[in-house]
Each structure stands twice: as C-alpha cells, then as structure tokens.
C-alpha cells in the first residue's frame, strides 16, 4: 500500500485558493499472492483485503488532517495578492472557454488544450478578455499605398522602422 499526494491539475487550480491545495489519492497494491495460492486461499484473501482496507481508512482518518496542514505556496501567494487580482481569479472562466476562443480563431483543438494548460490563471483571464485586442506580433507589413510615403519619411526620421533597408 502506498499513499501519495498529487496535484490534480484542473481541480488544483480551482481548489487551492479555497482549500488546502492537495488531493490525496490512494492506491494499494495487494497483488502479493500467486494465482495458485489466490485460488486456494480465496476467503483468506477477501478477509485480508477487508482488513487491509479497514486499516487504510483508519490510517487515513488519522493522517489526512496532519498531512494537509502546511500552508501551501499557492495559498501564500494568494494571500499577497490585491483585491483586484483576487477578483480577477474569482471571475475566472473555465479553461474550456479559452480553448473554444482559440479554436474559433483557427487553432487546432488538441493544440489549444495543450496551450491553455501552460497558462497561469491571470494569463488565462487576460487572454479570454482581450484575445482580439492584445498585440499579436506578426512581422508582416501590410500597408495601404497612401501611407507608405509617410512611413518612409518617418523611417528616415528614425521614428518608425517599417523598412529595415532604409
């Protein structure tokens, strides 16, 4: 039997701010008997499994609060934030909404999911609110003819840098 703590990614982001920030998952490995002995000792196996599970739950009921009782880094970071920052997190949309926004703008669904997973909640908010307003570096120059002359002069004056050759 092993008990280990892991952070469930999607759940983690929502729950940490409110609760302890860890979920406890239990796996037990009771596969210690051979096929033969298992058949022979079926009732023994059941009994031992039952007692094992009972032990697990008893242990858990004692250990869970103790394991969870450090103040997590996410909680401390949240404590430091201003009210505005906290409100932004409360208004937090689900990651799926941002995935949908990206897909709407031509990104492949699987890619969008992966991309959204690397964002912090603040970044996620900024993206979902301003996806069409934020600067998007393109490097392609699309100029209306009439404005080209103006920009050539501005380039020469060192104000802009539309034409690297000037």
């Amino acid at each position: 039997m092993c008990i280990f703590i892991r952070r469930n990614r999607s759940q983690f982001r929502f729950n940490t701010l409110l609760e302890s920030g860890v979920t406890i998952r239990i796996t037990h490995n009771v596969d210690y008997m051979t096929q033969e002995s298992r058949m022979k000792k079926n009732s023994f196996f059941r009994k031992s499994l039952t007692s094992l599970l009972l032990t697990v739950f008893t242990l858990l009921s004692v250990q869970t609060p103790a394991m969870a009782d450090i103040v997590s880094t996410d909680q401390l970071a949240y404590e430091q934030q201003t009210q505005t920052q906290r409100d932004a997190v409360k208004n937090f949309l689900s990651r799926d909404d941002v995935v949908a926004q990206l897909v709407e703008r031509g990104v492949d669904v699987a890619d969008a999911q992966q991309r959204v997973d690397s964002l912090t909640s603040a970044e996620l908010n900024a993206l979902s609110e301003k996806i069409d307003l934020l600067p998007a570096g393109e490097g392609g120059v699309g100029l209306v003819i009439g404005i080209i002359v103006v920009f050539m002069l501005l380039d020469i004056a060192g104000v802009t840098d539309i034409f690297p050759a000037i």
Binding site: D69, I70, Q75, R115, P135, A136, G137, E138, G139, G140
Partner: protein, 331 residues
C-alpha cells in the same frame, strides 16, 4: 496639387512626426556618457545564436525558436507554429510567447523596462526576446525580434529580425519601437538561472507560473519527472538564496522540499525564514508540522502555539496543526 492642400499635408506630417517622435531617453543616456559604465563593454555579439528567417506573419515562432535553441532546447519554428500562432490574428500573442517555453522545461522572465539591463544580459551571453511596434500607436506593426549584440561606439543594437541575420538598428530607433510595445523584453532560462536584475516578486511569479505548467507525473517518464522536480527545487533554492529576506521564496522552497519528503532540510529552511521574520505565522505552522512528523513534539508544540497566537488568514489551519501536535503528545 494646390498650395492649400499641400500645406495641410505638411502640417499633418509634422503632427505625425511630433506624436510619433517620442524621445529615446535611455539610448541618449547610454550614448552620451563620455565613459560607459565601467562593467559594461562597448560591444558584444552572440554570434552563435541561430537565425531563422521568418516566413509571413511568423516572427513569433521564429524568435521563440531562436531563444529556445540558445537555451539548449532543440526546436524549429515550424514545430512552434501550432503552439503559439493564432491564425485569425495572423500573429502570436505575448502571453503565449511566455507560456510556450514552460512546456520545454524553461522559465520565462519578463525583464524590467531598462535598455542598459538588456545590454547587460547580452554581454552576459543571453539573447533577449523583444517585442517592437515598428509602426505608430495608431497604426501598429507588431514584431518580435531577438537582441544578440550591440555596439555602443556605433550606437547600434544587433538583432535577429525578420529576414536579416545581423540587423543593425540605431539604439534610439530601437528604443522608440520598443517603448511603443511597452518595453517588453523576455529571457528564456533553465530553472535555477535568473536575470541579472529582477525583483523577488517577479522571480517568484516566473517560477510559480513555470511550476503550475509542469506536466503531472503520469504523463512523464520517471527520469523526466525526477529532472522536473529537481529543476523546480533548484529554481526555488536559488531564489531563496538570492533574496533571504523574501518570505514567499523561502516558504516556496521549504514547501517544495517538504513535498519531496526532505523533512530535515524543510525544517532548516523554515527556520531560516523565521530568523528573518520571527513573527511569520505560516512559517511557524509549517515548521511545527515538520517537527511533528519528525517526532520532535515539544518543539512542534512551541511553534504550533506561536502560529495560533499570531493568527491571520490561515488561523484555522494553525489550530488544526496545534490539535494534531497535542493529540500526538497525549498519545
């Protein structure tokens, strides 16, 4: 053309020039100094940084591949297109430029808006990813490029930009285009390295974004997972070391090693935080928890009690810790 309309055009152009012609104070300061700062060389060039001539609208993936390669991550602009490019915008958003390197095990640091700081990073061997607005505020032409060198004698910056490998741009012109993009400059570094100039809060934010983007254990091979945890631990360790007065970085490091089961080290780290901040309740609480698990119940009770006395946002947690310690002592 009638004289009146020509006059209008000239006036309009002058107006443009005035609104667009912001000063370039940082360049002026750098170039007018009779002697540049003693520890800043007059020239620097990172010639080994790769160059990817961008295809249409793809300066984002090209610039990102450049800095990732320089950080020893083998990746091509083509493979980054699906990770950062937004077809409907025909470009790449800054937020996604910051997020993508995290998937390659790299931490992204946004630098302060300081041109000399950018030059210092380049001098130190690190190419700097920058955003520019090559046009004007009302007619923006957003662009990503990578600063790979500079020449203060000639007053130029050297960039991997667009289709030009060593694009030499006058410092004041760069400063204006950079300033119109909010002085956005980014370093892509392995965990455990940090920018020359940054604040403890910016460093914390960068590492914490990196940590939350890391894959869960099941998606990785055992060795990749071990590397990932080691990277995170190292990132927190150097942060706590550089800013010993930062509560947050100290706690982050302590909590990380506690999560790895290194109780003795965790206790030591929390104690260091308490040495700088004797009345920091969360550190008393977490130290009490470690001492409890080590079976050092008397010391655990002292710290748990102190946390409860100090109280604060996590008072409920402190009370639970104290209860756990008390019940362990009476057992």
């Amino acid at each position: 053309m009638r004289p009146a309309s020509f006059r209008h055009l000239t006036l309009a152009f002058l107006f443009l020039l005035m609104t667009g012609c912001a000063a370039a104070p940082q360049s002026a300061a750098l170039l007018q100094q009779t002697l540049p700062p003693a520890d800043l060389h007059a020239t620097a060039l990172l010639d080994s940084v790769p160059f990817y001539p961008q295809e249409d609208y793809q300066c984002g993936p090209a610039a990102l591949a450049t800095v990732l390669q320089a950080s020893r991550i083998s990746v091509t602009p083509d493979s980054l297109v699906s990770q950062v490019y937004v077809p409907a915008r025909q470009g790449t958003l800054q937020i996604e430029m910051l997020a993508a390197p995290r998937r390659y095990g790299r931490v992204t640091h946004v630098l302060p808006p300081d041109l000399e700081g950018v030059l210092r990073e380049v001098q130190g061997g690190r190419p700097v990813l920058v955003m520019q607005n090559l046009g004007l505020d009302w007619y923006p032409q957003w662009h990503y490029a990578v600063v790979v060198g500079y020449d203060l004698n000639a007053g130029e910056l050297i960039l991997r930009s667009g289709l030009i490998r060593d694009y030499r741009l006058a410092l004041p012109v760069f400063e204006r285009t950079w300033q119109r993009a909010g002085h956005w400059a980014v370093l892509v570094l392995p965990p455990g390295e940090m920018p020359l100039h940054t604040s403890s809060q910016s460093y914390f934010d960068a590492v914490s974004a990196f940590v939350s983007a890391q894959s869960s254990a099941e998606e990785l091979s055992a060795s990749a997972h071990t590397d990932q945890l080691a990277g995170i631990g190292e990132a927190w360790r150097v942060g706590a070391q550089r800013w010993p007065e930062s509560q947050l970085l100290g706690m982050a490091y302590g909590n990380h090693v506690y999560g790895q089961g290194a109780l003795a080290l965790a206790a030591e780290v929390y104690q260091q935080v308490l040495a700088a901040h004797p009345d920091y309740a969360a550190a008393h609480n977490n130290l009490a928890q470690v001492l409890l698990e080590q079976g050092r119940l008397e010391a655990a009770e002292t710290h748990a009690r102190r946390a409860v006395e100090l109280g604060g946002e996590f008072a409920e947690t402190y009370r639970r810790t104290l209860q756990a310690v008390e019940s362990a002592r009476t057992r």
